[in-house]
């Protein structure tokens, strides 16, 4: 599948934003004394900022962005619609929580729980957009949901660490960085092992139904130039580059942030380390998400006999 920057930005940045809202909500609900008022407000503001930036970026992918509001209408059947509704619904308790924390009084625990639950649901819906697409096996599998959740958590933990270091001079978030980066790393390695090993059920023979006569090869393509299908679904990435890019992504989204967190836990809590981890995790996730698209094979390309299986 062709990697489109607006969608990569959408999934990475909105994932981080809703992850941050989840972490802030969950911490306020469970252990409110851990976060100072300033750190909480900053985390909520940054979370909303990231979420809004990501959602706005997704509009750039649309052919008719002025009609984007229509995407909320099919909330019963479409994952994209679920995502839109869930993301907007999350902003309501976030706004209430922001006001409550700003005033320094009120029943914030219940509101914080709503923020945490709705943020998590939104990320589940984002992954649902991809897991619901059956012709793309690299997306419609059980690894995608945990990968979206854990990587949203890992990126959010880095930013929360940066905020708590800046406002509170506390180091608990560094532990979150280590834990969530480790979790993200395990899940993503599991995902990569899966996409490298699964055997696609479809072949050019099953696509055309001509397998009974032998192996199907293209004799003449239906068109001499590219078309929408070959441009959008026929994106191919050389395998050797994929291996290198995976290593780069892994180092940036898992190894470097976790190493920064461990070093600062061992020695001194440094804002430079937290900033480095935050930039690193985002860069790593951009590469990771680019690969998520670039390495995904679509079954329609079997008609063009691009692959033996998909």
């Amino acid at each position: 599948m062709r990697p489109t920057f607006s969608i990569i930005f959408f999934t990475v940045v909105s994932g981080c934003g809703f992850g941050l809202l989840f972490l802030a909500g969950a911490i306020l609900c469970v252990a409110p004394s851990v976060l100072s008022r300033h750190a909480t407000l900053a985390a909520l503001a940054l979370g909303v900022g990231f979420a809004a930036a990501g959602l706005s970026s997704s509009l750039l992918h649309l052919g008719q962005p002025q009609r984007a509001w229509r995407a909320l209408s099919q909330w019963r059947s479409s994952w994209l619609s679920h995502e839109g509704v869930a993301s907007l619904a999350t902003f309501v308790p976030v706004a209430i929580l922001f006001v409550v924390v700003w005033n320094g009084s009120g029943a914030f625990r219940v509101v914080a729980a709503f923020v945490a639950v709705l943020s998590a649901i939104t990320v589940v819906c984002t992954s649902g957009i991809y897991t619901s697409l059956k012709p793309i096996r690299a997306w419609s599998n059980a690894w995608v949901l945990p990968a979206y959740l854990s990587l949203a958590g890992a990126s959010a933990a880095c930013w929360l660490w940066l905020l708590t270091t800046a406002f509170d001079r506390t180091s608990f978030a560094a532990w979150l960085v280590v834990a969530l980066c480790a979790l993200g790393a395990i899940v993503k390695v599991g995902y990569w092992r899966f996409v490298d090993s699964y055997v696609g059920e479809s072949t050019p023979e099953s696509a055309t139904g001509l397998g009974r006569f032998g192996t199907v090869r293209t004799f003449e393509a239906p068109h001499t130039e590219e078309n929408y299908l070959t441009r959008e679904m026929g994106f191919v990435l050389a395998r050797k580059h994929a291996a290198k890019l995976r290593a780069i992504a892994f180092a940036l989204f898992a190894v470097l942030p976790a190493a920064c967190a461990i070093l600062s836990l061992l020695f001194d809590t440094s804002i430079a380390f937290a900033a480095l981890a935050s930039i690193s995790v985002m860069s790593g996730l951009f590469v990771e998400r680019w690969l998520f698209f670039a390495q995904a094979r679509h079954k329609v390309m079997l008609f063009y006999t691009r692959y033996d299986r998909a």
Binding site: S206, L210, Y228
Partner: protein, 251 residues
């Protein structure tokens, strides 16, 4: 609502005969021509006369060479394969749509896009395993085969003209249009008689359109004309006249 309607008794669709399709692309061209000016048009091209033209077509004709492993090249089959929307019974292109633009008609099962509702998110094209949908950059909406819904119900046409443009154009009659939900219709009988099949049944989308397999070809390796063995022709079974000529010429 882009939830699927309950299964309709009427299932309009196409039956494509791969045995007689000659790969002339007339169906694709007639489709482009009709739909460019029809109710669902235009079907714009970008850089139509440039270096890399790109445009929306509802119908694409592949040509394949099919041969068994280790089989002689002369035995390979060339099969022309028109590919268009299969108007599936349970397609995901409808259910993934966030706006309700992509829908399946409850009364005849035709899958359509309402271009006034489509936001151009392209999720439906990603959900289709058959490549039935092509996005128009120029119009910013998804476009697809309409089964010529603006022809087949068009009462200003003579009855024999109320068929999809691709079916009308086919010079070998490799394309048939009808109700595949009615077991007694011409197309259903054709499917039963010729062993019509679904493409990529593993998607679970239950295509309505059916493809008729090519009939078995003659095996060139057991041909009565033994092309390769002309130096060792056996005249012992030939007629007396031929044996005499062989004897004469062999001196």
């Amino acid at each position: 609502m882009t939830m699927l309607p309950p299964p309709s008794p009427k299932k309009l669709g196409l039956v494509i005969d791969l045995d007689i399709c000659v790969g002339c692309h007339a169906c694709a061209v007639a489709c482009k021509e009709w739909n460019d000016g029809g109710q669902f048009g235009p079907l714009p091209d970008e850089h139509a006369y440039g270096k890399q033209p790109l445009g929306v077509w509802f119908n694409r004709v592949h040509s394949y060479e099919v041969a068994k492993e280790g089989e002689r090249a002369s035995n390979a089959m060339t099969i022309h394969f028109p590919r268009s929307c299969l108007h599936c019974e349970t397609p995901d292109c409808v259910t993934v749509c966030p706006t309700g633009a992509s829908y399946k008609r409850a009364d005849d099962g035709i899958v359509l896009v309402d271009e006034n509702k489509c936001i151009g998110c392209q999720l439906c094209a990603w959900a289709c395993a058959y490549g039935a949908r092509e996005f128009s950059e120029e119009r910013g909406v998804m476009q697809k085969c309409t089964l010529c819904v603006d022809r087949i119900y068009n009462e200003t046409f003579e009855e024999y003209d109320r068929q999809p443009a691709c079916v009308m154009a086919c010079p070998t009659r490799a394309r048939h249009f009808g109700d595949l939900g009615d077991a007694n219709s011409g197309v259903s009988k054709l499917v039963a008689e010729r062993g019509g099949y679904d493409l990529m049944p593993e998607t679970g989308y239950k295509p309505v359109n059916k493809y008729l397999p090519p009939r078995p070809r003659k095996d060139a390796s057991v041909s009565t004309v033994a092309i390769e063995s002309e130096t060792a022709v056996d005249f012992s079974t030939a007629s007396p006249a031929l044996r005499w000529i062989d004897k004469l010429l062999s001196r």
